[in-house]
């Protein structure tokens, strides 16, 4: 059976030992500097129709991973085996270039994290959303306008907004333009990079419900990157937790939130601010130096900040291993530690 999943369904996407390094080229003189290991040997499977969550510290490589998968970036090494709709054999998106990549590129779309820098300020919404449809032969003539209007309304904007430019919208409205654009090309897989973080909770609820409806209707697969663990818990079937370019834990959502296996996951969950001024979480504070993707610590890359660190952690690098069926963790002490889940750290009746 395939790596890092126990599901028997065939994966739509299998990522294998994926790497994306920045810099590190040898200069004319002197030794090559250390590269920045934004993504460093990541492997996981995504099942068709599931929502696969990716969480982790800011700067740990989530966007880089997402952009590699959507082929907005070329990976340094590794494979991304994608199974096209009517073909038996998977294709390696990491290897394909130019024309050969074209047919699959449409299948994998991305909702970008920073909407303002991904929307051309000189194009109206009609062009931003409609042009890719025309270029890819998905619609023409009056049909384009009709579809753009429909998409705008689906994401909670108005059809008559299509003649406006991106700057005339608020941050959250621009985020929805990005969602409409990703949906326009009938993708099978959507990499959603913080798709709802700019939205107020009520619009966020509408968009999350919309993403769920579209998933059911069109059997869409989502890779869902988010910092809001409440949203992740609500939406995702499985979640990968990343730390400096690597997966440190991978599990189904329920068991992950109930009883995390990695100390970093525990720290993350304990830091979620509770939406009640009469409750606080007891944070598991992360001491020590921040993760540095250029010079990673020896041994377990998390050890300088880990409160459970023992000697072995300083010298020996833990591997990602399957501790229970479907639960993967990269920690030497995972069996013996008994970590707190999301609700264990909540203290009610204490004022914030």
């Amino acid at each position: 059976m395939s790596e890092h999943t126990t599901q028997t369904a065939t994966p739509i996407l299998s990522v294998r030992q994926l790497k994306k390094h920045y810099g590190g080229k040898k200069p004319l003189f002197g030794p090559a500097p250390n590269p920045l290991r934004a993504v460093d040997g990541i492997s996981f499977d995504v099942i068709e129709g599931e929502t696969f969550g990716i969480v982790g510290e800011s700067g740990c490589g989530k966007t880089t991973l997402g952009r590699c998968i959507a082929r907005a970036l070329e990976p340094t090494d590794g494979q991304m085996l994608y199974r096209p709709k009517d073909e038996k054999e998977p294709v390696d998106l990491a290897r394909l270039k130019g024309k050969a990549l074209r047919p699959y590129r449409l299948d994998v779309q991305m909702i970008f994290q920073d909407p303002i820098s991904s929307l051309n300020p000189r194009m109206t919404l009609l062009d931003i959303i409609g042009e890719p449809m025309i270029v890819n032969g998905l619609a023409k003539g009056a049909e384009v306008k009709r579809r753009v209007g429909e998409l705008l309304e689906r994401v909670g904007l108005r059809a008559d907004h299509m003649s406006r430019y991106p700057h005339a919208f608020s941050g959250g409205q621009r985020q929805r333009i990005g969602i409409a654009r990703a949906l326009a090309l009938n993708p099978r897989v959507i990499v959603c990079d913080e798709p709802v973080s700019a939205l107020d909770v009520s619009v966020q609820a509408q968009i999350l419900n919309l993403l769920q409806d579209l998933q059911t209707e069109q059997n869409l697969t989502y890779l869902f990157i988010a910092h809001d663990l409440g949203v992740v818990e609500y939406l995702c079937d499985r979640v990968a937790v990343m730390y400096v370019g690597e997966i440190v834990e991978l599990s189904d959502t329920e068991r992950l939130f109930d009883k995390p296996l990695h100390p970093y996951t525990e720290a993350l969950m304990s830091a979620v601010p509770e939406a009640n001024p009469y409750s606080v979480r007891q944070p598991k504070i992360l001491e020590g130096d921040l993760a540095n993707a250029v010079n990673r610590p020896d041994g377990c890359h998390f050890h300088p900040r880990c409160s459970y660190c023992v000697n072995r952690c300083r010298t020996e690098e833990p591997q990602l291993r399957e501790l229970e069926p479907g639960r993967w963790v990269r920690c030497h002490r995972a069996e013996e530690l008994s970590l707190s889940g999301a609700s264990d750290t909540l203290v009610e009746g204490v004022e914030a």
Binding site: Y22, E57, S58, G59, T63, D114, P115, I116, S117, G156, D160, F169, S170, G171, G172, S197, A198, L199, D200, V201, S202, V203, Q204, A205, L208, N209, Q212, H227, D228, L229, G230, E233, Y234, L235, T253, E254, F257, A267, L268, M269, A271, V272, P273, E274, A275, N276, P277, Y278, S279, P283, L286, D289, L290, A293, V294, S343, E348, G349, E351, A352
Partner: protein
């Protein structure tokens, strides 16, 4: 009701955008007050005018937006009170307030960081503009500040360009820039949305520390009601360019008085809710066309308590429902809306 402790007082502010299709009343009569050293949370529907209001304070509303009425009184370090609305947006006076006495963290870092300058150059420029220090000193302040906002490898990041760092790192760069001048009023527009919760906790801690050190007031716009609950004392809820509810965070969360606030409090995906297997509730419908504001109460088109009569005809005024808690709903006193749970111990206390 302003007193000597008031640092900012916005009164009946109107900021409009004239567009070929008509006028967008982005800010339509907003009033609020901020006291020295306190944190005011501002929440509201996406597009309700929060960012435009904040930009109005600093007089940096982009064209074609303009302030057409109201006042924004800011009390300066030397005790002088100035109406920001009356100042020329290019005057020396306003430039000496911006960045120095009032600093702003912008919602989308990419729209306010220059892509052609390094992070360090941009922070250093801000520092030398407001402090009499040399470039070398400013550089070490910049690196120190980057470290304080939990930036990894600050000595290297200082020489990198915005596109070479992650979304959350850009946000931290901007926070470092805003805080480097020790402002008296910090305007933070979604400052932590791009951050993971552990980094966010560090930033919030840093803000609290600076707040008590310099008695800094903070206006904190966020969609994260968890952050509001944990970080602020007062909350202002906006809808279609107006304040619809304002009060202490405890009152407003446990006993909301406006149906919109109530709707927000129940749309949050709280940790642990998955087990309940519920679909998220959201407020029905969407924000009305800004060119065609609804008659009567602007929220009536989406409100489940709409009486079909007074709500449609008569615009409710923002009025005090109890001391320190005001709401803009005809039925604010009688709806008895449910907020988040108040623990039994706190009820007795």
């Amino acid at each position: 009701m302003s007193d000597s402790n008031t640092i900012l007082k916005i009164d009946d502010l109107h900021t409009h955008y004239d567009t070929p299709q008509g006028t967008v009343r982005a800010v339509a009569g907003t009033s609020l007050e901020v006291h020295r050293g306190e944190t005011v949370g501002i929440v509201g529907e996406s597009g309700c005018g929060k960012s435009v209001m904040l930009r109005s304070i600093l007089r940096i509303v982009p064209h074609p937006g303009r302030i057409i009425g109201g006042s924004i009184e800011f009390t300066r370090r030397d005790g002088e009170t100035v109406d920001m609305v009356k100042l020329d947006p290019n005057s020396r006076k306003i430039r000496s307030i911006r960045g120095d006495e009032i600093a702003m963290i912008f919602q989308e870092p990419m729209s306010s960081l220059s892509p052609v300058h390094t992070i360090g150059d941009q922070i250093i420029e801000a520092i030398v503009l407001h402090k009499s220090v040399s470039n070398t000193e400013a550089r070490s302040i910049a690196i120190e500040m980057l470290g304080k906002v939990a930036m990894p490898r600050p000595e290297q990041i200082v020489d990198q360009y915005p596109h070479e760092i992650s979304g959350g790192m850009r946000q931290r760069a901007m926070i470092a820039m805003a805080l480097s001048c020790e402002p008296r009023l910090l305007i933070a527009d979604e400052p932590t949305t791009a951050l993971d919760v552990t980094t966010q906790a560090q930033i919030l801690d840093l803000m609290r520390r600076l707040q008590s050190e310099f008695n800094m007031a903070i206006m904190f716009v966020t969609h994260d009601l968890g952050v509001v609950a944990q970080m602020t004392e007062h909350v202002v809820v906006m809808y279609m360019g107006q304040v619809v509810e304002a009060g202490s965070v405890k009152e407003l969360f446990t006993a909301p008085r406006h149906p919109y606030t109530h709707g927000l409090l129940h749309s949050i995906p709280r940790l642990g809710q998955r087990k309940l297997g519920r679909r998220l509730v959201s407020i029905k419908g969407s924000v009305p066309d800004p060119f065609a504001r609804p008659s009567g109460c602007p929220f009536h088109t989406r409100c489940q308590y709409n009486d079909g009569d007074r709500c449609v005809r008569e615009e409710p005024a923002l009025r005090e429902v109890m001391p320190g808690h005001s709401a803009r709903c005809h039925y604010a006193e009688t709806l008895g809306l449910q907020g988040v749970d108040k623990p039994a111990e706190a009820i007795n206390a």
